[in-house]
Amino acid sequence: MRTVITISLNGNAYQLDAVGYEALRAYLHVAEQRLAGNPDQAEILADLEQAIADKCRRYLGPHKNVVSSEEVAEVLREMGPVDGGSGEGSQTAAGSMGGGAMGTEGLYAGAGASTGAGQSGASGNTGAGAPGDAAGGATNTSGASGDAPRRLYQIREGAVFSGVCKGLAAYLNIDVAIIRAVFVLLVLLTGGVWILVYVVMMFVIPYAQTSEQHAAAHGWPFNAEELVARAKAHYAQFRQNGSKWQRKAYREQRRMWKSQHKQWKEHQRAWERWGGPSGNPPAPPPPPPGWAAGPSSQLLNGVLSPIVGVLGVILFFTFLWMLIAMIKHHTLFGWWMPHEIPLWVGIVFLIVLYRAVASPLNHAKYAAHYGTPVGHAWVALVGALIWLMFVAFLAWLAWQHWDEVLDFLQQVGNFLRDVIDHREPPPGNPENAALYFVAWGAPSCLLPGYIASRELESHGQIDSLDVFGEAADGDVVDSCCGDGAYGIERHAA
């Protein structure tokens, strides 16, 4: 059995099998490319289609209405390579004629090779016996990947903020981790000015929205075959990586279901024993036990989760506010800090304090998440919404007090310059080098780069944003995250 695809050749319907269709499409695609720039491109293509249709009709009869892939291959072999070079004056010099002929032949060999690949050994007569088949095929592929234009886009999928780094990584063909590390380093070295560069890039570089733009961002050639091939590769990789844990998870799930089913059956039997003889109509069976927790604790989890989320957000912004106060006024909890204590010690202290307070809260929140069996996504959504509301509020606040924010930005810059100017470690002194490292590490926590290192799990809120993105998996959500992150960034700055 073969899939049949109906096509229209110059206004007439023909049925080809799937392999033949791919071969024909590849042929016409190459023809179209070769004739690009020819003023009569459309007319020539129509003529070619008509010629192909005439040839196909030869193979059709009252009891045969599908053109097989072998027959399509034969038709295309008869058609021969489309000569796109005749427009450049083939009657001039013999040398240029030779060049034109070679180019055409190489291209045809390429088309032949792709046809052969499409046939996947279904028939042996596709190769067309063109000389230099392999060489032509190679030229064709390398040409395709080399010619695909590469453009700079922001790539939102898997981005930390806006996707500038991801886009740059795709554009420069460098691992995104390296680009991000360079960006964080640049932020530190420029005393925060690089954040502004990032923001400018964020506004200037367009987002890759269509699949075509995504392909252009990576410099992939964009056509149907490439897309299918890439999807297949991704799927194969996914299966390879995913199958192991998938199977494991499935087994565990099945074991759980089985035990639940057993328990439920026992309950039902007990119910029947109790209610059956008295002739009562069979009552609805009790809810299957063992669904993670009883309904009361489910309810508790449902209520607890948003509360913990709110607490976490409040805690984070208290921490942020204290950081700002410390850098701006050199105060801690409203008191002046003794001047002997350097600023970075205070910042490290604050971070340690924050983590100490926040980590039990985060654990509580995760417990609440996973305690509710049905509403993971729902709970995450509520948490994310709370978070977004806070971010929006803070963005508004920052907007209202823009001058102060600018002032603070300057102070952060000054602080970082101080760090850079005065804390050069004397070589060969490990203790000082360690202090220097801490001093470098602390300001990096201040800056958006810190949020990039969410693997640290110090901010459950951001994780919940992530869950939100995965749960809804929409561009709108992503853009929310981007805007939200921008808000944080501006406030942190």
Binding site: N10, N12, Q50, A51, V82, G87, S90, G98, A101
Partner: protein, 109 residues
């Protein structure tokens, strides 16, 4: 290298001349031309002929008109224009000159 390959570029260059000759002999459509040429050393294919005819028409050497055929869709029948005929004469003269040169050079065989 076979003789056939050595003259590959020349055959390609001569194709326009040959097509002019075929069209001059009779009003033909592409399948006719291919059939006539297929019996010669200048056998060619649609993929080559259609772009060539399109360029020749742009150069004003040939023109076509649609004609109904008894079987299938209407076909393009090609004919030479005045400048196509002039071009054919020129090319024919030039070809004769080349032939003479080849004959005159080297040992007579």
């Amino acid at each position: 290298m076979a003789v056939n390959d050595k003259f590959g570029a020349i055959r390609k260059g001569l194709l326009e001349f040959l097509v002019l000759k075929v069209i001059a002999a009779d009003r033909v459509y592409v399948a006719d031309m291919l059939k006539k040429l297929s019996e010669t050393e200048f056998a060619t294919q649609e993929g080559t002929l259609y772009p060539l005819l399109s360029r020749m028409r742009r150069d004003g050497l040939v023109d076509y008109e649609w004609k109904e055929s008894e079987a299938g869709p209407p076909r393009k029948y090609y004919e030479l224009t005045a400048s196509g005929r002039a071009q054919l004469d020129e090319l024919a003269d030039y070809w004769r000159a080349i032939n003479k040169t080849i004959e005159d050079l080297g040992p007579k065989g």
